[in-house]
């Protein structure tokens, strides 16, 4: 089976006029397959977001190559964007649009036929339980509702690949569980999901394979079982500390 995401030697150096370059991600390589949840585990500022932003074409890699759903992130960025659904803690919603208008707008950017789009929007609103609020402006929605609208926004075009950058950051337990359930359901539908987090319990609950990133470099990757065997530790926090400090 061909990987949905293939990153080889991805490196990002931010230019800084005062101190030279800052290496945010260095030589990151991994693969991710359909029907798999691949976790990127690391502390704040480890380079997870930078890696995911390179995969989603927001940032251009300084070195290395990456292909998403067969499209090169540099040479065919539009192709990549058609194939991904991207969601992060920092992405916002248009406060003065309603959820329905938001989905119509983003669906329109993907060139989805109007009739088909209407059906898709109704399906998503129902799936995520937000039909009741479909006509309310996003600025008036609760945090949980906003996150559900963000999820709908990311998958309105039914992409084969999902890139989720700390999607549960700042959410309460109830909303987090909705998000986790949603990610698990996506895997069941054969989507390829890259999921970054620094919450170890989410990794244990969701991820088929994990990569540990620290200070911009990939320290280890594999299944949880493989990482436990490699470090000789049982608990996930011990595994993580061992890989980061080692």
């Amino acid at each position: 089976m061909a990987p949905s995401i293939e990153a080889v030697g991805l490196t990002k150096i931010f230019h800084d006029p005062h101190s030279g370059g800052i290496v945010a991600a260095s030589d990151i390589s991994f693969e991710c397959y359909p029907g798999e949840i691949f976790g990127l585990l690391g502390c704040n500022g480890a380079g997870k977001s930078t890696t995911l932003r390179m995969l989603s074409t927001i940032l251009r890699p300084t070195r290395g190559v990456a292909r998403v759903a067969g499209h090169d992130v540099v040479k065919d960025s539009l192709g990549v964007r058609r194939s991904i659904g991207y969601l992060s803690a920092s992405t916002g919603l248009y406060g003065r649009l309603t959820p329905r208008e938001t989905l119509e707008y983003f669906g329109g950017l993907h060139g989805i036929d109007k009739v088909k789009l209407r059906g898709r929007i109704d399906e998503l609103l129902c799936l995520l339980g937000i039909e009741e609020f479909a006509g309310v402006r996003c600025e008036k929605l609760s945090t949980g509702m906003k996150q559900k609208v963000s999820i709908a926004r990311a998958i309105v075009h039914d992409p084969p690949v999902l890139i989720l950058d700390e999607p549960t950051l700042g959410l309460d337990v109830l909303v987090s569980s909705v998000m986790i359930r949603f990610v698990a359901e996506c895997r069941e539908r054969g989507k390829c999901i890259v999921f970054s987090t620094h919450i170890l319990s989410e990794v244990e609950k969701l991820c088929d394979r994990v990569a540990v990133i620290h200070r911009g470099t990939l320290r280890a990757s594999g299944t949880l079982k493989e990482l436990r065997e490699r470090t000789g530790k049982t608990f996930m926090d011990d595994v993580f500390m061992s890989l980061v400090e080692g």
Partner: protein, 659 residues
Amino acid sequence: MTEEARPWASVMGSWHIFRKEILEVLRDRRAVFVAFVLPLLLYPLLYLWLGAIANLRDEKRPLSIGVAGAGDDFFVHLSGLNLKVERRMLSDIEDVREGDLVVLAHFEGARVTLYHRATDLWSREALRRLRVALDAYRDVRIFHRLAEKGRNVEPSRIAAIDPVDLSSPEARASTTLGKILPFLLVIILLTGGSFAAIDVIAGEKERGTLEALFVHPVDRKLVVRGKFFVVFAASFVALGSNLIGLLLAQGLSAFLGRPVDSLGLTQAAIPGPWVAIGIFLLTGPLALLTSGILILISAYARSFREAQTYLLPVTLLTLPLLLLAVAPEATLSSAVAIVPLANAALAIRELLEGRLTVVPFLIASSTSLLYAWLVLRNAQTLLLREDLVLGVEEPPGGSSLDVRARRALFFAGGLLGVLYFAASSIQSWNLLLGLTITLWGLVLVPALIYPWIVGSPFLETLALRTPSLRSLLLGPLVAASLVVLNAAYLGLQDQFLPMPIELENIFRELLLRHQMSPPLAVFLFVVSPGICEELLWRGTFQGELEPRARPIRTALWVGFFFGLFHFSIYRLFPTAAVGFVLALVRQRAGSIFPCMLIHATYNAMLCFGLEALLERLKEAGLSGLLTHPFTAALALCVLVLSIRALRARSLPVREMAGG
């Protein structure tokens, strides 16, 4: 990244973005009220308010005054002034205090004392009417005195001069409108579109929606275009609201039969169809340019607040250009026709005054379009910059200056205060010695001591690094371009802020008056500023600001203070521009030495070379060559290319420290 789009898809893409943006703008009640509804109400309300003020000064209202000690002949002059006059005594002064009388005029020989209450509006009005009577009374008395002394003076010889204006009120109002309207147009276009511009890009960066948008298959150029047209529409609607408001006020004026304002603007005839079409054709490109400028600001800023902080200086920067258009002597020459904003403003003025010709009209509108296109392209390029798209992740300093940067600003401000008083005192005592002490003492010593006091690394702060050969070679080219641009700008400035002749020739005067030898002149005017001023402004000041603020912001601060440092309103803008360019040079070259070289060369050219060059050009019949707009355009190109060609030395790459 590959972001190509076919033409039709491009139009549809921009339209899709435009529709969403306009919906969002229209749903913002505060923005809609301020930009569109308020102007509709403002002018009629202003009219009613001004009318109320005028009513307060109603000359038909009779006012009670007292007159003490005046001869009967004075009372003749009070007729027709609507004053209820009573003969009183000086002892009735209490009646003025208590309000029974508004004024008491006491005549005592040749002296008249007017007792009144300045806090009372009617007392002030009565005073004004009384002065009219007193002036007439005085003139008649002078005439009689001269007659008594045997001088046979004809009354007409001392009669007041009474100019009679034969132009119609409509024509007078149109001339006034021609001066005010272009100024208003630009300000309304800038302010009317500002909210939409800031919200649709800088606001989106802050809210994280731009990042969400850019992970969808949409060309960033289309995004900029869609948003640009929203700003253009908002500017135009704001303009329309303002004009409709003015027309409503005019209608109200006609209905009530009273001019709306002291300038009589509402008496101006509504422009005929051709003039209206002409105004529209000029305003369109102008609105495209102002919208482009607003979008550029918004694309550059990382947050809503940061965009707002840029908006004020940009609006202020447009003022000198607009003043050029309202100056009494200003005409739309081919040179002025390529000056952004001023060209359209002046063309509208000439159109309203009925003296605009076709060629300047075409140049003004086409250059505005060209500038709009260039600005828009620049905005599109900015949105390809990763650091600007991810607005929330700011570099050190970000949008707010930290304590050390603020301290550096206070240091510079305080030093300017000291220099203003101390340097002028020393130089008035002995100019040559004073100049030397100012530069090598008051300027250089604080520049060298400050980094040591605040504990900054000395060499790094002052950028005392070996320069590249390229930066040194490009230095004279930068200096020469600055000299040409300076000459061109001063030529334009002469139209609205002419430099006094004594300032123009100040250098020659100094040389002659002090019989200065060439080496001494070079030391004082070339070497000393090149070293001392550079170490202060591009050295210490810039070095303290730079790690804590964004590069362009630092350069703007450095330029602003360098402009102030020259303590002359006439030289403020050109010296600030030179300071800004030198700050860019330090940033690009990574060393202060090219700045020193450019500064010294620039001063040498201005002091020793420019006058001789102008003489030569005059002899060759090319006196206007240096200040010709095409020479200036060429110099600007050379300057931009030279600065672009400067390259910072390669800096080390370091690991991201937890970030």
